[in-house]
Amino acid sequence: MKPRVERDLRVPMRDGTVLLADRWAPPNGDGLPVVLVRTPYGRRRAVRQIVGPLVEGGFQAVVQSTRGTFGSGGDFDPLRRERDDGLDTVEWVVKQPWFGESMVLYGMSYLGFTQWAVADALPPQVKALVPGVSESALTLEFLRSDGFSLETPFGWGVMVGVQERPFFVLRMLLGGRRLQRALRTLPLNRADTAALGRRSDYIQDILVHDTESPFWRSADHRHRVAEIRVPVSTVGGWFDIFLPGQLRDFRATPHARLTVGPWTHADPGVMAAQASEALEFALPLARGEAPAERAPVRLYVMGEEKWRDFPSWPPPGYADRRFHLHMGGTLAADPPDESAPDGYRYDPADPTPAVGGVRLAFGVTAGPVDNTALEARADVLTYTTPPLDEDVEVVGEVRAEIFFRSSLPHADVFVRLCDVGADGRSTNVCDGLTGVGDADQVTAVEVRLWPTAYVFRRGHRVRVQVSSGAFPRYNRNPGTGEPRATATTLRVADQQVFHDPDRPSAIILPVRDAEAGRPRAAEHPR
């Protein structure tokens, strides 16, 4: 039956500000478990897709616009106001005449963050959380002082800056090129004007305040995760922008289950998996029943192209193995012999581009793509194994240790893991970037790559790319150490990557133990 929608319910906050909410309920839906969604993106667009299946499945839904968005009072101060507002809203829902006995919190991305913001102080009526492609310190990973992700938070700032204007979607689609041009603006603190025609408080904030700034303290809810007392189900994607933080949260959550698919942030697969977690995990909990048994961790293993169950994250049975960089562009388990370093020239005026991978922007391809053109660039080094004589299964956290020196004191090291097929085509698996100060001294640079689950097939080859950027996913390193908001000078850098006995650069992959190889059949009962 078609749900009825009560529009613009007024939800008062402790400071007197009123936020607006819509209630979606089937006829006679009073008393059903409530699914609460708090969103900054409006209560019309795409909301039917989000809550429609949940209301059909047995929930009544409350969708609230967060402070300062789509008719809700106050100023939109992204990320920093969600704790008090969220707690006040939960309390309000519990007091409504149509509220029954239980409620769950639900949503992806920012909508998942609003759940973490209140996770440690929930009343007993809240029975489960379902935060997808999200984490408890949303966006703070982007603002690391040793690696500033430019494209995603900037594009998000532009998007929320125009989302309440007419023809919003059309504007974003048509404005994609303008936005990409704006990312090249110097100094960056004028890029918002180039993209929007005016200054954006949020964009100025992300340029000035990095992860450690007290400015973001009220947007950081990492410390609440271990204190949560209700079960959590969390859905992520191997190419999602928030994956590292999401897996960190999962490890800290007392009662949680995890699903990670081969998805980017906006993949429809995420929403489908979220909806089934709401109905198969959260709804039974809200009704006081036990959800159907399932392994705590369910991962899509790429390369093998199969869903598999695991007892934990990172899963047992995988041991770190070092794959060393060698002269001549080879990659092998043995340590390297004496050899001269490899070099390349990085020019921030023609920065090494981001190609596929972990990206989120209008009109930009994310996920696994052909890396041939990227690897043909003179500013990208590659190191490749011979064809594998057996499958190599990698599941867990991936990191690299690169002995590196630049001609300038400030530089970035970008490392990407690729799978080279029998046809010679190189496809990206996961990657990461670390910025270095004192880069003109030889430094062992630790690069944390995105976690993954991937089987390199027999006959395929493992490849590692080393370069100094992935622009505009990461801001280009100007080489000067100037603050990112005001930097205007770009300096060309000569970079060196070492591979000798004293400086053995390597990527460290969690590879399945030969011992653990045997129970494999048992995981796939016929």
């Binding site: 920093r80 408080d201 100025q204 904030d205 000035v208 007290p214 400015f215 303290r217 009220s218």
Partner: protein, 301 residues
């Protein structure tokens, strides 16, 4: 030097100035409620300023979760009909800038100190503030007065865009920079003054100024001849616009205002600067600046 109206506490600046009282517990920042700032102020009261922060002095704390990295607290004097306390008020601005310098702040946002509870008449407070900031040698590149009321905004705008402050802005640049401008002006050839128009197909025509002419325009901006003010309204009302007739007898600030109308106007209407070359307005501006430089600024000596 800019003027804005709004909430000082959400301003983008390296440091914002909290106009407080000797207790260090008053002012807009504390009204907003910023626990880390309040805690530091309490600690200062318990240690360095047990008898309170003296009027006219300033001290810095963290910005806590504010946009600004630092808050500079200064105790603004209360206005008195019987006693001239303007030196104390000027000291608030001077001391705040001195502290900002020590912190390495590049931008500072001030409120209209002493004009709230302090009861200071707006016109007088604005004049003292602008003079004090102008007279302080500082590395702070950007100063903004963020006022609470529209009346204070009007008062500060009047002073910041007034004859005295504009002339002071010109005088702040060294003589050799001015000579550079006048040499660039003298170097303009008839070809630089005859502007060619490009007429690409399928596009509106646009003027092509020479590189030598742009250099003059850039120098006007760098020397603060181009000033932020409401040049649209001014050029509508002023008899000096458009031709610059009478500029010789007007204050030098009017040369800056007229130059602003032309340089900024070009951004909105192609060919505005060309018309200024044709009608003699730009030459009138250059002449007035030159006379100010030799006779009033004393740069000729």
């Amino acid at each position: 030097m800019l003027v804005a109206q709004g909430d000082l506490t959400t301003r983008h600046a390296d440091a914002i100035v909290n106009a407080t009282d000797p207790s260090l517990l008053g002012g807009a920042v504390h009204r907003r409620g910023e626990p880390a700032v309040l805690a530091e102020c309490r600690a200062l009261r318990a240690s360095t300023y047990q008898n309170g922060l003296p009027f006219g002095r300033a001290v810095a704390t963290t910005g806590g979760e504010l946009r600004a990295r630092w808050v500079i607290h200064t105790a603004g004097p209360v206005w008195s009909a019987g006693e001239d306390r303007s030196a104390l008020l000027a000291s608030c601005y001077r001391e705040s800038l001195r502290i900002a310098d020590g912190l390495g702040a590049g931008s500072v946002a001030f409120p209209a100190i002493s004009t709230g509870a302090g009861g200071w008449p707006l016109d007088d407070a604005a004049r003292i503030a602008v003079r004090a900031v102008r007279a302080t040698a500082t590395r702070v590149a950007e100063v903004c007065f963020v006022t609470f009321t529209p009346e204070a905004r009007a008062a500060f705008t009047e002073v910041v865009t007034g004859d005295e402050n504009i002339a002071a802005g010109l005088a702040a640049h060294p003589a050799e920079r001015w000579r550079e401008l006048f040499a660039a002006v003298d170097g303009l050839t008839p070809a630089d003054r005859a502007v060619a128009w490009e007429t690409p197909e399928g596009q509106l025509p646009y003027p092509r100024y020479t590189e030598r002419f742009w250099r003059v325009v850039r120098l006007l901006a760098e020397l603060d001849v181009v000033v932020p003010f409401d040049w649209g309204a001014w050029s509508h009302d002023s008899p000096l616009h458009p031709g610059g007739r009478g500029l010789a007898g007007a204050p030098v600030a009017d040369a800056a205002r007229l130059a602003t109308a032309y340089v900024r106007g070009e951004r909105f209407c192609d060919g505005t600067l060309e018309s200024g070359l044709g009608n003699g307005a730009l030459d009138a501006i250059f002449d007035r600046l030159r006379r100010w430089f030799t006779e009033e600024h004393g740069g000729g000596r």
